[in-house]
């Protein structure tokens, strides 16, 4: 009578079709507009940087998986590709390839694998890689070239935020126009030049519900309020909030970096605090800090708070009464 072998498992016996690789590939797809625009703006350099970053990330990941005797499927789950892609997008187009490779190795090795691999890392791996490079090669990481389309014949070129910080651009009236910021006719990291491309990707992410909407909204609101106060108080000295939102790495940070599921809070309240923290810190660094741009540091800084935020913002369980 007992002739069939059944599957024994705990309930539930149904499962929707989503999986980790699918989420990862949604993110990769959403980065494609920015990828294409950066290739359009920086031509061969962009491709070379993307290839070397992604390649180095995959190779490092494979090395660690082999060392730790882990199943190979994690290599193809797409997370290493995203790390490489995001890292490349935050690099200046003029960066030499060997340095990019160093950054990629650092991103996967000390940003991710030392913690145990995907899901265990505390800090955003791509940003760890970038912070590593920023500290290791500060000059190379702040040397910019103009986009290929501009046909400007200068060796060095300043980003809109450099102008703002070091050239007193508001007072001089040389602030980059919002239109250029939006379309991407500016100097800067590969992926952060065109706000339009990033927004396209972000819309796709929202559509696919692959990110927590609270985080980008919180960051942008906090930054708007923070810079808005100063701008209203003294528009001759401070740039408008819209400039701050479109310039630099804010959009890529808010939509693609801060929303990294592994390193952002899991609770709704935690997400709000985290996002506000990032927004305010970006404002602080841009307005008063030593660096023209602070998105990377802000996200890394708030990453350190995530375990505490998760712990102290546990949602109220149904029926739970909390003492006031």
């Amino acid at each position: 009578m007992i002739d069939k072998t059944y599957i024994l498992q705990s309930s539930p016996h149904f499962k929707d079709k989503d999986s980790v690789p699918k989420i990862m590939y949604v993110v990769i797809l959403s980065l494609m507009p920015s990828f294409l625009t950066s290739v359009y703006f920086f031509r061969f350099r962009a491709i070379a940087l993307f290839v070397s970053c992604i390649g180095a990330c995959l190779a490092t990941e494979a090395l660690f998986l082999w060392l730790r005797k882990k199943p190979k499927h994690s290599l193809l789950d797409g997370s290493a590709v995203i790390t490489g892609l995001l890292l490349a997008m935050t690099l200046p187009p003029s960066l030499s390839l060997d340095r990019a490779v160093i950054g990629a190795v650092a991103a996967i090795a000390i940003g991710k694998q030392v913690f145990g691999g995907l899901g265990h890392n505390i800090f955003n791996p791509a940003l760890v890689g970038r912070a590593f490079l920023q500290t290791a090669f500060p000059v190379a990481m702040t040397t910019w070239i103009p986009p290929a389309m501009l046909k400007v014949n200068t060796v060095t070129f300043a980003t809109p935020l450099d102008n703002l910080k070091f050239q007193d651009a508001v007072a001089q009236g040389t602030l980059t126009s919002l239109k250029d910021l939006f379309l991407g006719n500016i100097g800067g990291c590969l992926g952060e030049t065109s706000a339009l491309a990033l927004l396209l990707g972000a819309i796709y992410l929202f559509y696919k519900r692959a990110i927590d909407w609270r985080i980008p909204v919180g960051i942008i609101c906090a930054l708007t309020v923070f810079t808005g106060i100063f701008w209203l108080a003294n528009p001759d000295k401070y740039a408008s909030p819209l400039f701050h939102i479109l310039a630099g790495g804010l959009l890529i940070g808010a939509f693609f970096m801060a929303t990294d599921m592994v390193t952002s809070p899991i609770t709704p309240l935690g997400s709000w605090i985290y996002a506000l923290g990032i927004g305010i810190m970006v404002g602080l660094i841009r307005l008063f800090g030593g660096y023209p741009e602070g998105v990377m540091y802000s996200i890394l800084f708030m990453n350190t708070f995530v375990p505490l935020l998760n712990r102290y913002t546990r949602p109220r369980i149904l029926g739970e009464r909390r003492e006031k």
Binding site: I110, T135, A136, P138, A140
Partner: protein, 203 residues
């Protein structure tokens, strides 16, 4: 406690009980001054000087000190030697003294020193304390040397100020920074553990 041979007593400080890699003591100077090899060596020697002499003094007068004030007495004795080292460096090796900054006076609170006094010198004979102090010092110097070599070579491309990496090499400034120090030491600790567990398996 079975009496160890002099050799074993000395060698334990180098590896099994290496203050930095195995006991995680004296981390502050280990991290702070190892940006350059010369600083690491100077720090190691200064610490050794203090460790050896305070071990000598404390093991010889251990019976006189009531236990309630022993910590106070120990720190005064240690601080005396630290001041000597500090003044000596300031007088004869000004550049090193400058680059070590407040970390020379801070030898006084290096856990290695007070720890060895409490754990060893206050309970053992003068001779054994001396051997122990020598062993620990060597272990400490060794650790500083390893860490500072890595940091200087990668961070500035030099060793003891001499260019060792080719012109192609672009120094990784991060290695001179606090973050580089932390990360390097973290990785070194892991390597030490791997070596130790391999050695254990062989035994």
């Amino acid at each position: 406690m079975p009496a160890k041979s002099i050799r074993a007593e000395y060698l334990k400080g180098l590896w099994q009980e290496n203050p930095v890699f195995r006991q995680l003591l004296g981390m502050c100077p280990t991290l702070a001054v190892t940006g350059a090899v010369i600083n690491g060596i100077a720090m190691g020697l200064a610490t050794s000087f203090v460790l050896i002499f305070s071990s000598l003094v404390i093991s010889s007068i251990k019976k006189l000190i009531p236990s309630q004030v022993r910590i106070a007495c120990y720190v005064v004795i240690i601080a005396t030697f630290v001041t000597m080292a500090d003044r000596f460096l300031a007088a004869f090796f000004l550049p090193i003294s400058k680059s070590l900054g407040p970390y020379v006076p801070l030898i006084v609170v290096n856990c290695i020193i007070l720890g060895r006094q409490e754990a060893f010198s206050s309970k053992n004979s003068v001779g054994r304390s001396l051997i122990d102090a020598l062993g620990m010092s060597s272990g400490f110097v060794l650790a500083l040397l390893i860490l500072s070599s890595i940091r200087e070579i990668l961070g500035s491309g030099t060793f003891l100020g001499h260019q060792v990496m080719g012109a192609w090499f672009k120094p990784w400034l991060i290695m001179i920074f606090p973050s580089g120090a932390f990360i390097t030491l973290g990785i070194l600790l892991a390597i030490a553990l791997v070596i130790e567990s391999k050695a254990k398996q062989r035994r």
